[in-house]
């Protein structure tokens, strides 16, 4: 099982980001990580939350255009070259990385959220290399 990412379309208007965060807070949806990317006209807010399905339902009800998609949340060591090593493995197998952002874990561990082509296949590849990933179940407890 891969991890789920919640994406929200937001037009560049004062206060829209705040509205999204307020909806999530009111419904007890905990944000573990986020990335906001924008152009001059609109932005995409990508979130890793403890309950993406609930987040999607509540935001849709408030009129936001949202989608839940599959991503990989990969644990990496805090040491030089670990991210590069990970990307090399994926690229060797022709897995395309669309974007990524960080997600911090307790203690010494870090992780990255990666949007790739073929997420299920990418996960199998990583598993074979003994690289651990977080599933949606893991996120629920965070």
């Amino acid at each position: 099982m891969v991890a789920k990412q919640l994406s929200v379309f937001i037009e560049n208007r004062q206060g829209r980001l705040g509205e999204v965060l307020a909806v999530l807070k009111e419904n007890g949806v905990n944000i573990l990580s986020l990335s906001l990317a924008d152009t001059t006209e609109y932005g995409l807010l990508r979130l890793i939350v403890n309950d993406s399905q609930l987040g999607k339902e509540m935001l849709s009800k408030e009129g936001f255009s949202t989608i839940v998609s599959d991503v990989l949340v990969v644990k990496i060591d805090h040491k030089c070259g670990s991210l590069q090593g990970l990307l090399t493995i994926l690229s060797k197998e022709n897995i395309n990385v669309e974007y990524m952002y960080g997600l911090s874990l307790d203690g010494d561990q870090a992780s990255v959220v990666i949007k790739t082509s073929h997420p299920e296949k990418a996960m199998e590849i990583l598993k074979a290399q003994k690289i651990s990933t977080l599933t949606n179940e893991d996120l629920k407890d965070m």
Partner: protein, 432 residues
């Protein structure tokens, strides 16, 4: 089936009837209707100046304002004791426009509607449910008598109580639906909500839609909602001219045949009033040539269309008017190009990623007009490439249709204003 043999007359025969009836009508209104006499005198034209159909262009136009100025009966050509029916159209401002009918007018109206109903596939065997509001509005009663004359069984269910409408359709075996396109789509939606599949559980195979623009995109929506095998035709009319029955589409769905033995159409440039050559697009002007009570001469409909004189595959010889492009009132002039909101709507409706609501904004930047379109994104994505690709596709399609570049602004669902009545979708911020 072709209802009347007049519908297949040769062009020469049609024109002969038109000229006879035109001359008779002009003489009558000049004699009996004071405001017409004054208008014609002012324009320096006498009834004897009308010798050919081309002479029609010498006559002054009549507008909705003339009807308001002469409220309620000032333009009637018969005394009120000969009037057997009165209808009115609700004006958005002030007094309504009032229309009257003599016994003969009602017969002509019924004849016209029977013809357009036949064009749309109506038969004696049909069970016709009329979901137009009965009352002062001409739509419901117009279709009612026209369909009844054909021999169809009428279910005069009017508008409202949509669940009951579906029950009637199911229990009575309705085969023909009369409604505005948007109400027809709403009814299909209600049916599904209560567990009735319009395609399987209902027998509606004919849709006679009118009193609202039927865009190609809406016709496709109708097929999706009611089934691909439904025959959906649009028909045209307005209470000032008679009501529905001025023109209607035949099964070839390529323009609406105008009942030319009762109406003479012209296309004019809405700004200059000049008559445009055959085939050009402009404002439709109609002259009623056999009405007794309210024979309007060169009435400006404000509707934009063009006339098609090429023969139609159905065998009818009456000229066709293209499905409306919009109203001259709504027309925007942007960088010298005429733009109708309906053209923009059609493009928007063709994208499943976009909702049906939109706003058109026109601004002036320096000496240039700038056109922006706000639309709602109803699909979702986590990819910029998808969003950018979508705006680009919408923009390109608009450019092809309008001949203008514009900015496409994607918004979240439910951000744009909703309207219960006539939607206001244009914000023109250019100083006049």
């Amino acid at each position: 089936m072709i209802w009347s043999k007049n519908e297949t007359l040769s062009r020469a025969e049609i024109e002969k009837i038109q000229l006879e009836r035109l001359i008779e009508t002009i003489n009558r209104v000049y004699e009996k209707v004071a405001p017409y006499r004054e208008k014609m005198d002012k324009a320096g034209v006498k009834p004897t100046d009308i010798k050919s159909l081309q002479d029609l262009s010498k006559l002054p136009f009549v507008t909705k304002q003339d009807l308001r100025d002469n409220y309620p009966y000032g333009l009637f050509a018969v005394p009120t004791n000969e009037i057997v029916r009165i209808h009115a159209s609700s004006g958005t401002t002030g007094k309504p426009t009032v229309v009257g009918y003599t016994q003969k007018d009602l017969e002509v109206w019924t004849e016209c509607v029977s013809r357009i109903a036949c064009m749309g596939g109506a038969k004696k065997e049909d069970i016709a449910q009329i979901c137009f509001g009965y009352g002062m509005f001409t739509g419901a009663l117009g279709l009612h008598y026209g369909l009844e004359k054909i021999g169809a069984s009428i279910v005069p269910s009017s508008t409202g109580n949509s669940e009951k409408q579906i029950m009637y359709m199911k229990d009575f075996g309705t085969t023909l639906l009369v409604a505005t396109p948007s109400y027809a789509l709403r009814l299909a939606e209600v049916a599904r909500e209560i567990g009735v599949d319009p395609k399987k559980d209902l027998k509606v195979k004919i849709g006679l839609v009118g009193s609202e623009l039927l865009t190609d995109a809406m016709r496709q929506e109708m097929y999706k909602a009611w089934g691909e095998d439904m025959l959906v035709t649009s028909n045209y009319g307005m209470s000032e001219l008679m009501g529905p029955g001025v023109s209607g589409e035949c099964e070839y769905l390529d323009g609406m045949h105008i009942n030319e033995d009762f109406f003479i159409p012209e296309i004019i440039n809405p700004e200059t009033g000049e008559v445009l050559p055959e085939g050009e697009k402009g404002e439709l002007v109609i002259t009623c040539i056999s009405k007794e009570a309210l024979p309007l001469i060169r009435y400006r409909t404000k509707d934009i269309t063009r006339l098609i004189y090429e023969p139609c595959k159905c065998g009818r010889t009456f000229v066709r008017m293209e499905n409306l492009s919009g109203r001259s009132d709504d027309m925007l002039k942007i960088r010298g190009v005429n733009v109708f909101p309906s053209q923009i709507e059609e493009v928007i409706l063709s994208f499943s990623e976009l909702g049906p609501h939109y706003e058109i904004i026109v601004e002036r930047e320096g000496y240039n007009d700038k056109l922006s379109i706000r639309v709602e994104l109803v699909s979702s994505t986590d990819s910029f490439a998808v969003l950018e690709n979508l705006s680009k596709k919408v923009r390109n399609k608009l450019k092809t249709i309008l001949g203008l570049d514009c900015k496409v602004m994607l918004e979240s669902p439910n951000t744009l204003q909703r309207f219960e009545g006539k939607a206001k979708r244009i914000r023109d911020l250019r100083s006049k």
